[in-house]
């Protein structure tokens, strides 16, 4: 049978590889020191010396974008790791065992997922203070319900499957059933969900940093760069374009990848 073409997966994979590669590069090497201030080189337009120009402190925008992408990806990875691990654990237990705890947690998840994550993150930041750790924890916790909901449905469906029933009759323990029989079945729904969650995490982090409540200066973050660049929009539009385009590119790559993975699953 001819394999169905999946351009979304292809383009998404390529863009994501490019951005992750650039971020990895930025973690080890950048053309200039991203925090080095140079008064003589303020607002240089993009050129061969400074690929994306310089900002209001004379810092190289390209180096800052590379490092900012790395920060975004790292934060998104931590957020998704917290959300996915805890969410999958809660969803698995709820879906498999059911009962009143399941009912309550499902209702709670429904309520939490109705709220936009930026609003909830704002509440958490106003309670816990601003900073990178707070943002990661706040967003991580806020990502739990969406994963829990997804995994719960899948686990509840598996529970009634005949192979689980026969495993129970053979005397296999609950723990072993969860780990050896249900967990592998979750891979299909979890992989696209992780990629899409990654996407939402990048957007939420960029939004929070844009509002000045995420990664704090002088560390480069795409969101805070974008909000700084707004003051100099007339003088140095390349600063805003570079930071914003980097965010859009990250999101584009992962959204295409997530979509492509979902299509492959359905096909």
């Amino acid at each position: 049978m001819k394999k169905k073409r999946n351009p979304m997966l292809l383009f998404g994979g390529a863009i994501s590889l490019l951005t992750v590669g650039a971020a990895l590069l930025g973690a080890f090497w950048t053309p200039y020191n991203p925090t080095a201030v140079s008064a003589a080189e303020k607002f240089c337009p993009p050129s061969l010396v400074h690929l994306l120009g310089t900002d209001n402190f004379g810092r190289d925008v390209f180096s800052r974008v590379l490092q900012g992408m790395g920060a975004s990806l790292l934060i998104a990875a931590c957020v998704v790791a917290i959300g996915c691990l805890l969410g999958a654990a809660i969803g698995c237990l709820c879906g498999y065992f059911g009962g009143p705890a399941d009912f309550l947690l499902t209702r709670l998840c429904d309520v939490v997922t109705a709220f936009p994550s930026v609003l909830l993150a704002l509440v958490v930041v106003s309670l816990a203070g601003r900073g990178t750790v707070q943002i990661v924890l706040a967003l991580g916790v806020l990502f739990i319900p969406s994963f829990a909901r997804l995994v719960r449905g899948e686990a509840a469906r598996c529970r009634d499957a005949s192979y689980i029933q026969s495993a129970r009759l053979m005397g296999v323990s609950h723990g072993r059933i969860l780990l050896a029989h249900i967990l592998p079945n979750l891979k299909g729904v979890l992989v696209p969900a992780i990629v899409i969650g990654f996407n939402n995490a990048i957007l939420s982090e960029a939004s929070m940093s844009f509002l000045g409540l995420g990664v704090q200066p002088p560390f480069p973050s795409l969101g805070s760069m974008l909000s700084d660049s707004q003051t100099y929009l007339q003088l140095a539009p390349w600063y805003a374009f570079s930071a914003g385009a980097a965010i859009a590119l990250l999101i584009l790559g992962f959204s295409l990848l997530g979509e492509g993975l979902q299509r492959r699953r359905r096909a």
Partner: protein
Amino acid sequence: MKTLFSKCAALIITLFLVSALAFFAFALIPADPATTMLGSEATPEAVAALRAQLGLDRPLPVRYFEWLTGFLRGDLGESYLYRMEVGQMLSGKLAVSALLTMLSFLLTVALSIPLGVLAGSVRNRYFDAAAVGLNQLVMSVPPFFLGILACYGLGIVLKWFTPGAYVSPEKDFWGCVRYLIFPALSIAIPRSAMAVKLLRSAIRDQLGQDYVRTARSRGASETSILLRQVLRNALLPVITFLAVSLAEIMTMSILIEQVFSIPGVGQLLLSSVSNRDYPVVLAIVMLLAAWIVTIHFLADLLTRLADPRVRLG
């Protein structure tokens, strides 16, 4: 009728729970408002007096009950920082944010339905690939970046408006609307890209159904099939999405208000978060939460009204 009643009950219970969660979360933070207000050099007696004056020395459930009944009567609390009624601080800003939300919503609807029908009905491989690609690209641009692009392209280069030169609606209503069109577009364009995607795939789904084949064999024209029959069915998922958009748009406007320096609820919320002015944050969060929960409730009702299958189930 019975489901309507139980839905209403669920709405009230949810609102009640959200209010309790929000109130206790803000009440349990370690920072003591009385100490914050008086500074660290205040005498313990002065702090105790202020605490008594603010009612902070009474048990939490009592304070919650008083806050809730006050809230329901329209008394939203008092700002720690400005010693001012929150309701008074909000009055003008709420109107601005509501105007921005409505404009964004109308633009989203006006953009997404025609474009979605176009994307769903044109059967040309190249057009389709271009439409899907462009749609995905537009979806990926965060609204606040689109806002900055609009400020640069339409504001600074084309001079259609002056970024930051906000006009208040009391002074010049149409001038305000003219300024708000640009932030509203920045919110509406990515949002409608998502709606277009939904509508496109729903139309594609419907076009493959048997009733479309029957209608074609009876000699109905493609346009009449599309507009009279397919669209009615395809719009169902989109209606829910658009209704829920009203809740998303409200949060997006927090960010967009920053970009276009619009003195709305979002700006007040952000400055209150920075200043740790908890009563203001609590009041705004509670209002937004009530708005979101109500919107979801109405979207649910709307789906039931529009789709008899859900109504029965």
